[in-house]
Symmetry: C2
Subunit: 494 residues, 2 copies
C-alpha cells in the first residue's frame, strides 16, 4: 500500500492488506461531470520536473528563491505533556527550512511545500495519513488510497458532485448535519431522512425506504448514496454500535448503496459513562488498548469498496488547518484527485508542513495516538461535567437525555411526541433542511415508530426553526455542545 | 469601504470611492445553483459567538485549548533587503501566539486562525487585501468587496458554477490557460476562442462573434462571460495595453458581457524591453512611480460592476499558500461567499496567519509594494537573459518572438501559417482544449486574419498535442517559461 512503509512505532500488530482489489467499481454511479474529468495537463507534466538535472522551460512554477519565507518554526506539545501549561514549559520547537530536502535535513521543505503540489496532497503528509488509516481502519481490500481534502465540507461537496445528479435523493439520519444538507441543496440534491434511535440509523427504516422506493411517486431514481455520521452524530450525539454498523453495511450491499462515512468525531469517542458520582473507568493502558476500544469503522468492514470515509483534522488538531482526507478505492480516489486538480488543487502547503512536522517528524504515530487518548479523556471530563449540570439543574419531568458515547453534543429533548409530527409544517421554504421530513414507511413501521420516540434532537441555533408555531415549540428542545470553554477560562493567565 | 481604514503608508494619494452602488446587478446571469444558495446556518450563528461573556452551547467549535500549536514564527525579509542571502542575515522573525488577541498583543492570533472562520476569510487578511485592491485598482463604484479564495483555480471553478449552466460558451483568448479550460469542460461549459494579436484579445473579433451569434447554429445561448488573462497571458505572454482594455470593456458593455479578469501575473509586469546590449531603463523611483507604471486593471475601469477580478498570491508570494482573493460587486461577492461556506469554507488559517504577519504586521503596504518592485526587476532580468539566449542560439529564419511585457512566458512560434489552420483537426477527443478552435468570423475578418498571423503560441507540455500530424507540427512551436532556476543554482550553498 505504502511506497515507503515506516515502522509503526510498535504500537499495533499491523496486518498486511489482502492482495485483492476491491470487488466492485461503482463507475456507473459517477456523475456526468465526474466521468468527463481528464487528468490535468499541468499536473501531469509536473511529475517530469523531478528528473535530476532538468531545468524546466515548461509550466509556470515560480522559483523558490522568490518565496519570502526562509523558515517556519512551530512550538508543539511533547507527548505525553499535552496541556497548554506543559507546552509552554516543555514544548518542542519544530523547524522547517526552505531547502531542508535538498540539503538532506528532511524529506519535506518549504521550497516544496510553498510551491504548487499534486492534486492528492504532498507525498509526505499523504504517507502519514495513509499509515494512520491503515493502523486505525485497515481496509479489507488492497487498492484503497487516501487523498487530502481541504476539509470534510469540501470533500463532501466534491463527493456529491462525483456521485449525484440534480434530482437525486441522498439518504441520511432523520436529523442530520445542517451543512451536509445545505451543501447538497443548491446542487439540486434532496435529503431523505431514515428513522433513528439512540444508536442512530435504524436498519429496518433504511430497508423499508429502499425496498419500497416508488420512482414515479418520488420523482427520482432509487437512492444510491447513504450519508452518515456514525460516531457522535451531529446533532443527535448518537453513536452506531458495531452490530448496527454491520447491519447497515449489509443493507448497503443488498441495495447497492455507496456510503459516505463522515467521521469528524471518530476520535472523540469517550470513556463509557458511569453515571453521576460513580467511579471512573480507567483510561486505556496504552495505544493498542485505545485502538481496541474504538468502534470499528465502515471502512474497516468494506469488502466491496463501497465506502468513502472522510477524515478531518478539524476536531482533533485544528479546523483552521483546512486539511482532511478521504479514503476509498483507487478508482474513486482517482476521480476525486482529478476534481482537486481543477478546483482547490490541494490543501495549503503551509498547513501541510505544520501538520507533517507535528505528526510525522515530532510525534510519530505513537505520539499522535497518545494525543488522541488525551483528547478522549478531556472530552470525557467535559461530557461528565455537562451531564452532572443536567442532573442538577434540569427538570427531568419534561427533559431527558442520553449520555453520548462520542462527539461534542448532548441532546435535551422535551415532549417527544412533538418530534414525530412532520417538522416541515410551517416551513417557509423548500430549502429548509433540518430536521429532514420523516419518511412514511409502509411496513415494519411499528418497530421504527416505537424506536423513534426515544430522545432525538434538533439544532439549537437555526433561525429558520423559528418560523411557524410548530417550529417555535421545537426550539425549546435544544442540542447542547460541550466543546467550548466550559471547564476553565479561555483566556490564559500569564 | 473599509471598517478600519489604516494609513496607507503615505505611498499614494488615495481617493475615496464614489458613493454610488454599481449600476447593474447581473443577478439574471446567476446559475440555478448559485441562485439557490442560502446563508449557512452555522456561519450565520457564528457571528453571535463574539458577544462578550457568552459561553456558547451551540455550534461544535473546538476549544483553542486543544489546538496543539502554541506559537508559530516565520523568518521573512526586511524590506528592502529581499534576497535569500540578506534574509538569512538580516531577516525578521515574526511571531504568532495562541492568545495574542485576547492578550492585546495583536488583532489576530492562533486561537482565531486555527478555529473555524467565516466564508469571506478572516477579517484581518480581508482588510489587507481590500486596502491593497483600493491602492492598486480603486474601483469606480462604492459597493465593491473582496473575499478570499483558496487560489484562483478554485475561484474560477466557483465563478463558472455561479454564472454558467451546462451547454454555455465562455469566450477567451484563442490560446488560453489550459487549466481554465480543463476546469470548465467537466461542467459542460465550452470555450470559444477570440482571435488574438501581440496585445491579446482583438476587439473586432470579439464584436464579430457576439454580433453574429446564431443560437441555433451554435446550439447555445449568446455568451455572457469573457474569461481573460490581460497581463502576461498564459500561454502567449501577451499583455493588453490600456486602449485595448478600454475597447474590450466597451464591447462588454455593448454586449452585456460579464468579465472574469484572471490576473496572476499582474505584478510580474516588467521594465520595458530595450533590446540586447541596450542600456536598462531605471527602476521605479518609488512606490508611487511603480503603481503609475502598471497598466490599469479592468476593475479600475469597471463603472458597471461587470468584472470579477481574481488575484492570487501564487506568483508573488507562494503558490503553496493556497490563498487568493476575488473582487467584485457586493451582490456577486455575497454569492461567492455563500458557496465558500458550503465547500472550502475559507483558506487555511495557518496560511492566512503567515500572510497577515508578513504583509500587514511586518511589511505593511509600502513594504509589500517594495517587494513587488523587487519581483519586477528580478523577472526583468530573467526575461532579458532568456531573450539574449534566444538572440544568440535560435535561428531567426524559422523562429520569431515578441519580448513579453509581463508574466513568465516567451513564445517561440515558427511557421505562422500553421497556426491559422484549425488545430482541432487530429484531436482525439472533444475534451481536447488547447488551442481553442478559432472562430469563423463573418465580417471584419480581413483585419482579424491579418492580425492573427503575428506570433502566437501554444503550451509546450501537452501530451494531447502529439495526437495527429497537425499536432506534431505544432509541438515544434513551444512556449518557454523563465520562472525556473535559470540564473543561479536552486540549491543553496551553505
Amino acid at each position: 500500500m505504502l511506497e515507503n512503509p515506516k515502522p509503526n512505532d510498535g504500537i499495533v500488530g499491523l496486518q498486511l492488506p489482502p492482495p485483492l482489489k476491491c470487488l466492485l467499481t461503482f463507475k456507473d454511479y459517477l456523475s456526468v461531470e465526474s466521468k468527463a474529468r481528464q487528468p490535468s495537463s499541468l499536473k501531469g507534466a509536473a511529475k517530469y520536473l523531478k528528473n535530476p538535472g532538468l531545468i524546466s522551460l515548461g509550466g509556470g512554477l515560480p522559483c523558490a528563491e522568490y518565496f519570502p519565507i526562509e523558515e517556519i518554526t512551530v512550538k508543539v506539545p511533547s507527548p505525553p505533556h499535552f496541556s497548554e501549561q506543559e507546552t509552554r514549559e516543555l514544548g518542542q520547537i519544530v523547524r522547517a527550512g526552505k531547502y531542508d530536502a535538498s540539503e538532506g535535513d528532511s524529506v519535506y521543505d518549504l521550497a516544496i511545500a510553498l510551491n504548487y503540489g499534486l492534486g492528492s496532497g504532498s507525498a509526505q503528509l499523504i504517507r502519514f495519513v495513509t499509515e494512520h488509516t491503515e493502523i486505525v481502519c485497515n481496509p479489507p481490500y488492497a487498492d484503497w488510497h487516501c487523498a487530502l481534502s481541504v476539509g470534510s465540507t469540501s470533500a463532501l461537496e466534491q463527493a456529491y458532485r462525483m456521485f449525484c445528479e440534480r434530482g437525486d435523493y441522498v439518504l441520511s439520519e432523520e436529523y442530520t448535519f445542517v451543512s451536509a444538507v445545505e451543501t447538497a441543496l443548491p446542487l439540486g440534491i434532496k435529503f431523505l431522512g431514515v428513522k433513528i434511535d439512540d444508536q442512530g440509523l435504524i436498519p429496518e427504516s433504511l430497508d423499508d425506504i429502499l425496498s419500497n422506493w416508488d420512482v414515479r411517486a418520488r420523482g427520482a431514481r432509487k437512492p444510491h448514496i447513504l450519508y452518515t455520521v456514525p460516531s457522535g452524530q451531529n446533532p443527535t450525539g448518537a453513536t452506531q454500535g458495531t452490530a448496527r454498523r454491520k447491519a447497515i453495511y449489509k443493507l448497503a450491499q443488498k441495495h447497492d448503496l455507496y456510503i459516505f462515512e463522515d467521521e469528524p468525531y471518530y476520535f472523540l469517542q469517550m470513556q463509557p459513562y458511569t453515571g453521576p458520582n460513580a467511579p471512573e473507568i480507567p483510561p486505556p493502558a496504552n495505544n493498542e488498548q485505545f485502538l481496541k476500544a474504538l468502534i470499528p469503522t465502515y471502512l474497516s468492514m468494506d469488502v466491496d469498496g463501497r465506502v468513502m470515509r472522510m477524515d478531518s483534522f478539524s476536531k482533533v488538531i485544528a479546523p483552521g488547518s483546512r486539511v482532511g482526507w478521504i479514503t476509498a478505492s483507487e478508482q474513486i480516489v482517482e476521480r476525486f484527485i482529478r476534481h482537486n486538480e481543477c478546483s482547490n488543487q490541494n490543501p495549503s502547503g503551509i498547513s501541510q508542513m505544520v501538520l507533517y512536522k507535528l505528526l510525522d517528524e515530532s510525534w510519530g504515530h505513537g505520539g499522535y495516538l497518545q494525543w488522541l487518548i488525551n483528547l478522549r479523556l478531556q472530552y470525557t471530563k467535559r461530557r461528565d461535567t455537562i451531564l452532572a449540570a443536567c442532573e442538577k439543574y434540569l427538570p427531568k419531568e419534561i427533559v431527558s437525555w442520553n449520555p453520548p458515547a462520542a462527539g461534542m453534543f448532548v441532546c435535551l429533548p422535551s415532549l417527544p411526541p412533538l418530534l414525530t409530527n412532520s417538522p416541515s409544517s410551517g416551513s417557509n421554504s423548500t430549502t429548509t433542511c433540518t430536521p429532514i421530513p420523516a419518511v412514511q414507511t409502509t411496513k415494519r413501521s411499528s418497530k421504527s415508530k416505537k424506536k423513534s420516540s426515544i430522545p432525538l434532537s434538533i439544532r439549537a441555533s437555526s433561525s429558520r426553526e423559528a418560523a411557524g408555531s410548530q417550529r417555535r415549540k421545537l426550539t425549546s428542545c435544544p442540542r447542547t455542545c460541550f466543546s467550548g470553554p466550559l471547564l476553565r477560562r479561555h483566556r490564559r493567565i500569564r
